[in-house]
Symmetry: D2
């Protein structure tokens, strides 16, 4: 293998385009081909990136010997089958988050990667964000003392994506705001904390504002325009707690709810100090010295985490060294999603050792 | 009985003074006597209110035939014994919140009141706040639809009271921020919601910032100055969830923590609208009409809820009619405190039907 | 003339593209041709909009008989010469704001339009924003009483555009944050207020943070990347007052300054109520009724003001009726810019009747 | 003279009580006597502080040989006559801010103090606030570079004091929010900046919300309850600019206005950094180092500035050394008030050298 990996894009929608754009700027990556069942988006991406090889069936792309690795950027329920096919074809895989719609599928994917000796990296991009890594170093240094509580907020007012499309269809998405936004926040917390053992999850999801999609009022909609004949049976609101061998975690998330407060942050409460990560926008440290309490906030721009994650992917494929976003690292977050949905369904706390 | 009740103050500290000041302005109330083991505070209160009868032993006050009712404003662990003594003396009782340090004591107090046919009202003053009652009417009207989620915040940065005194001594206070501040918030939520059945509580308290009182940095301290030779073994931080037959409830509270964000509010999330109660400072409604979403906020001053609660107490004593703050009404909040502390101790969700 | 006007784009940079995109969606508009001296951006725009006629010299475009009107989206100092050329060629003109780099040029342009009987409309897009028009109607209705004070904020932390390029070159831009952002705010205020007579302006601009462009720290830069060998001799900060026959106006604006507070709003203070326009993001009304004070905020999405302004432009060209953004309407704002720069230079208040 | 000065309180209202309380805790001060024409407040203060000598006529107090100095805490229009009487009696004087209702009176007072060789110190308490002095040191150190702009906000929503009493009566108060609140802010800015020469003032006051006192809606009122048969002819809102030989200053203040935004701060904009003083609540520094921009905020409690100002007063009386709040230091702020009122009346900028 050279000092570059050949990459094939599977899925040429919004996510696939972001993958391609980042790959084009990431060291060690060479974009080779793309696949999508939709001719329109496939051609658009190929034109933009000067790709000659395009496939309407991703199985054909998997036979291309110049392709060392593929990216999987498709609706959630297709993550597992496509990833398994790619691994079976001995390709390394970069699969967008969430790993899959269920923990069982995620485990199957991890096992397949292990069996085939191929790298399977998940698109939990925050692990490659400068701010997140700076906080990780501060927490690990002991500067803020024992972290005993973490509070996670990912709340918007009117942000249900692609209402009536796959995003709001439980059978294709696996869930709503928890599996779409929550996974990012939970995973980065576990990354920063060094993956404390999960003991229990108790939470509740709510699907209240768009049961009748036509009654949902909004200003804008991302991902896709509303399809009023589609379904919305996933939670647009979620809240609950996670018990771990380390800190106690409280979370609240909303694609939409009837309180107009945007809140996207994670608070790390330590015995000697605290840190608020403003999601995607730096962080503030609350500390103390011999004389007084203080707050301080560096204002600087993170490097592009999307480019970094692909450079990191290529490096780990080339070297065989572990990647901080290897599927094994992300399994705890995926497990928590499963436990959350079970807890919400059963109306009770779910223990990890049940 | 005339159209006025004679009242004796038991406990002449900060709370007792607030009781006396409010009673002096409340219809149907006549301040008659006061008791405290501390001569200084007793005299000060008596002078301020022109009281001739003062007692260093409250047992003596209880023998006064002109006293129809007493107020109990003493450290939490004395609520139960003094209330039971007062009921035994056939006095009606206004007991400051929390009811007691344990639910078992609270039940004993309720039973005693029932047995003696005397009114036992708890100082959950928010039940007499205009804003709270306006929200209750809006919720009951159905205007915001089914309320499926309630979020409670009572968070400060540096507000541990009387560090090293009874407030931070588990044996005398029964707990920390949950029993001191949390009880107000939980009780008002149950009042507004019409007391949905409690199914389970899962939470965690933390006592991290003042284990060594001398290491706790602060700007001001209320209730009393710090006593560095005292103990702090109660939670200054708490978070968790409450499952009910109605909405799912998420709460976070802090006398102190290492994130400098003051947050004192309750969010009611309904299917058709939402309400944020800014604790002690009005509320905002998030609604929608045929055309658009909106927020609206009345800016007006609530009447004095402390005066109202004593007028309400007197009225219910005189008429024998139920009081919205009768001990039976407040038992659910007290029960939740017990379940919270058990959950925090056991590290698991506590079911009401266990 | 049919029910559609033929339009030629002059200037195919960021602004020109926005013009073209909006025109493509605006009723009464037909995009016919484009001109730019930069072949690259010209071709890109032409391809995107399927234009067959492109010109590297705008003079050639002006000879095209199918073109009824042109848009001028070029550096500020070229607004006047190109507009005058277009009018000379009997074209109607839609010229981006600011009108010109000086009031003298602006007057020349107005006179030329008048002389040629052609419409000259300025891109003060806020006159076509729903929120602005709703506020105008509320103010005119008298609901908030006499408006006696207006406060304008257009402050950012690190937003100098294209440092070292034409934006920061006084000879080409005419000024900095006042002529670039301020003109929008001042013009919308005069639109809402019904153009009260201007009596005096007193203000001060500051060019402090990027005198040495290499020393200016930033996170992102819009318009263009920094050119460290260019100049920055325009004000990145401005503040002052405007005396009118109506309200007193206070303004502060910053492309950049050393206080990290983003503030983009206009407050209208009336005797009976007030309105805060959150620039580009709706508004809040502060009112009172017989019982109480209140705040209320509609949350709805404005229609696309850019599309509306071009539809309005086409309609006024077709009908010959006045346009709310005719150059005469915008002259007061341009006059204020001149007075501001003179005041800043002279260090004193400039009277309109001097 | 011993190491303590004997003090007499003139004026036993809210301010007089604050004086007395602070004096009781200030080194070098001994409270000896008090005077007020209102027997009630006089007795209350005397009882609280165990004073034996009380006078209903302050002239009698001025004959007391044990009194070295007096405090003047009375309605603004009485500052000058009482201070002049006290100086005439060879007493040192601590006069509450503003110095007087006019600059002419203020000059007379300064001249009298000079002529009698007595200290005349003004109650501009912020000069004794820790935060203000820390900012002064930072500005003087050059750390934030040249300060080119200062923005002052002292805005409330509904805070007209004692409506219909002396506070809102131009003949007794001299003005409204500018002379009451503004003087504090302007004076502290001049203190921090080292008193740059004033060149011009241009501003406008508005008296709109309580012309008919009965129509003014509020929640609370400080100083005194409303007197609906009184007048309100002072400005409750003010805004304008101050040109100096140093920074350009923009100010806005409101006892009341129809935008519900409380804003009490001063921004110092420097070429290399900035500082926001949150009035009475610490400050934030916006700086930069070799790598990045940052904000930092010490959270600590200032010592009691009121106690400090009296200790400072006593020290300067005892030593004869200048006091940072000597009347000469405060004259520029008083001058600006005069210029503001003239500017508001005349509708134009007032030059210092006119």
């Amino acid at each position: 293998m050279s000092n570059e990996i050949g990459l094939g894009i599977i899925g040429c929608g919004t996510i696939g385009n972001m993958h391609a754009d980042s790959i084009a700027r990431a060291e060690g990556c060479k974009l080779v081909a793309a696949a999508d069942i939709d001719e329109g988006v496939l051609k658009a991406l190929a034109t933009r990136h000067g790709l000659e090889r395009t496939f309407s069936d991703y199985h054909d792309l998997l036979t291309d010997p110049e392709i060392d690795a593929v990216t999987v950027g498709v609706p959630n329920h297709l993550h597992a089958p496509i990833t398994l096919d790619a691994l079976a074809a001995s390709k390394h895989v970069f699969c967008e988050k969430p790993i899959a719609t269920t923990y069982a599928d995620a485990e199957r994917m991890a096992n397949a990667a292990h069996a085939k000796g191929r790298r399977l990296v998940i698109g939990v991009v925050n692990r490659y964000a400068d701010s997140v890594n700076q906080i990780k170093r501060i927490v690990e240094s002991g500067d803020i003392g024992e972290v005993y509580q973490v509070n996670i907020k990912f709340k918007s007012y009117r942000s249900i994506p692609g209402l009536g499309g796959w995003f709001t269809d439980k059978s294709r998405a696996g869930g709503g705001v928890m599996i779409d936004w929550g996974v990012h926040f939970i995973d980065l917390v576990f990354y920063i904390l060094g993956a404390p053992r999960v003991l229990a999850v108790s939470g509740q999801g709510a699907s209240m504002l768009a049961r009748d999609p036509a009654k949902y009022k909004f200003l804008d909609m991302w991902a896709a325009p509303p399809n009023y004949s589609g379904v919305c049976d996933v939670e647009e609101y979620a809240s609950g707690i996670i018990r771990t061998a380390g800190p106690f975690i409280n979370f609240e998330g909303a694609w939409a709810c009837n309180i107009n407060e945007k809140a996207m942050y994670v608070d790390f409460l330590g015995a000697d100090g605290g840190i608020r990560l403003d999601y995607g926008d730096g962080f503030t440290i609350y500390g103390q010295n011999a004389e007084f309490l203080y707050e301080t906030r560096p204002v600087k721009k993170d490097a592009d985490a999307y480019v970094n994650e692909f450079a990191g992917f290529a490096a780990s494929v080339l070297s065989g060294a572990p990647n901080r976003a290897d599927i094994e690292e992300v399994l705890p977050a995926q497990k928590i999603l499963d436990m959350f949905y079970e807890s919400s369904r059963e109306g009770k706390e779910i223990r990890a050792d049940r």
